[in-house]
Amino acid sequence: MSLAIILLLCFLMNISLGSVSIPLKSIFNSIIGTSDNESWQYIVQNYRLPKAFTAILVGSGLGISGLLMQTLFRNPLAGPFVLGISSGASLGVALVILGSGLFGATFSALLISKWSIVIAASLGSFLVLLAVLLVSSKVRDTMAILIIGLMFGSITAAVVSVLSYFSSAEQLQQYIFWGFGSLGNLSWNELFIFFGIYCIGILLTIISIKALNTFLLGENYAKSLGLNIKQSRLIIILATSLLAGTITAFAGPIAFIGLAIPHITRQIFNTSNHKILLPAVALLGAVIMLICDSIAQLPTSDYTLPINAITSLIGAPVVVWLLVRQRKMVF
């Protein structure tokens, strides 16, 4: 409950900070559309609000998919990207940006629009995931799926480095910029699509709550409790890929949040029950993402730091501090 209030406060803080300083009262007026300053209203409605909403979706989505993977793979090091989702997206984007040189200059300008990057990232993560799923349907052991996902990640990383080797400096820069992650480029229309897919992912997660708790006992116990392991596993993997896949497509590969948020939540709430963990992870993920984004904008300056760097800079010390304080990892 208190987390929800903190979330609201962070949300307000996030939209009130930016390169242009706008007084708090005008922010409220801008949101409901009664502001007399048109440029402020434009900034708030078309830039800051969608960015704040994106931060919430990204933070909660990554946190949840991280939790799903850690429970499914019984591994505290698992994150939303263990199945090769992010490397698949990277490969798709790399093919578009770095590979576009092969198609000639005029064509490449057309190719590198934002939508083509979103589509390439979605396609890339979807295809890698499909490959992982196909292979995993033949394997009984959940750990094997984890390793298969990592292997697919290595393969795509290798292809990306080969592509980078043959690319120009400008293309490389563009690719690296995508890799920094960004929350601020979404229009309302894009946000709606993002939100729609996000909701499907959350829905699949909610119907898996019981299965997730059963998985805490291990697979043989889960089976003896009448759980359909293969089906539950598929739903959980699908939910993760929908969440992490769309997030990567729209906001770039944002590191760390997915791995760290579930740990921070478990340390704070001291439970493994997913009925409590899931909403807590979602709220905390959103809060931390909003804070990270507020810091990344370097309030009142014109610069914006890469969000990907901030999440790790903030998140890693928090996890270390929590582990040292409690002296024991709760998993």
Partner: protein, 265 residues
């Protein structure tokens, strides 16, 4: 006492167990014919590597038999749907729990999963059954502890309570006494015996504690290289079965005391 057909919980006919791979089939034991009766405590003993775990895994549907039938409550095991089986048979396995951050109550409550709704909410009936399982295993004081705070013996009791909460006719335990000291070995097996009397459930466990099993079990299943025999401990002793359990060079069974002794060389 004449055995009534309807009181047989589990029986096997010409069961053959082992592992099958593409290249070859390795049979670990065959022609196993067993009948487990309602309300009995049954101990499964045998030397290391003789196939106790394989038999337990086969009976508990984790592993498929190579040949023969297993009937649970008169119905072939293969005809059971997942949930239906979960309401008839519960397990206590040797595998480590993945998460030890659940409280004792939460862990035992997971035994109610086959009965709860889609999100796993506990009804009043569920909570009553959980509390009864907690009382029967003397865990009331530990109810709110986290599982990682428990000793091995306590954790084993919790896992037994979880199986009790699943409210099944048959409970199968795979080596419930490993890693426990002498007192807790006796304690756990005595608890199982008490539970069969109180709840009229059938409990099957595998164990290396042959002398304890002889004292507590209604029926024992003895696995040797050549055959699998099931009978009451007394009859098994008079048949001299326990002498065939191990190679005879080192230890021998003493009929008088019901124990194994190291042979004097």
């Amino acid at each position: 006492m004449a055995k009534n057909k309807t009181h047989i919980i589990l029986n096997t006919q010409e069961l053959s167990i082992g592992y099958r791979s593409k290249k070859r089939t390795s049979i670990i034991a065959d022609t196993i014919n067993l009948e487990l009766t309602k309300g009995e405590l049954i101990g499964l003993v045998g030397a290391n590597g003789i196939g106790k775990s394989t038999l337990i895994r086969t009976l508990s549907n984790i592993q498929q038999p190579l040949a023969g039938n297993i009937d649970l409550n008169g119905k072939p095991l293969t005809n059971y749907a997942g949930l239906e089986l979960a309401k008839t048979m519960s397990l206590v396995l040797t595998e480590q729990l993945m998460s030890k951050n659940l409280s004792v109550f939460e862990l035992i409550a997971l035994g109610r999963q086959p009965y709860t709704n889609w999100v796993g909410n506990l009804t009043k009936t569920d909570i009553a059954i959980i509390n009864k399982a907690i009382a029967q295993t003397h865990l009331s004081e530990l109810k709110d502890r986290k599982s990682f705070e428990l000793s091995d013996g306590q954790l084993q009791k919790v896992m037994i309570a979880r199986a009790l909460a699943q409210d099944t006719d048959l409970i199968i335990l795979d080596e419930p006494t490993t890693h426990l000291d002498m007192y807790h070995k006796a304690y756990i097996l005595k608890l199982l015996q008490q539970l069969t009397k109180d709840t009229n459930k059938t409990i099957l466990f595998s164990s290396h504690e042959i002398d304890l099993a002889i004292q507590l079990c209604d029926t024992m299943i003895v696995m040797t290289k050549d055959k699998v025999v099931a009978d009451s401990p007394c009859k098994l002793i008079s048949k001299g079965i326990f002498n065939t359990l191990f190679p005879e060079d080192l230890i021998g069974f003493d009929d008088e005391t019901g124990r194994f002794r190291v042979k004097k060389s």
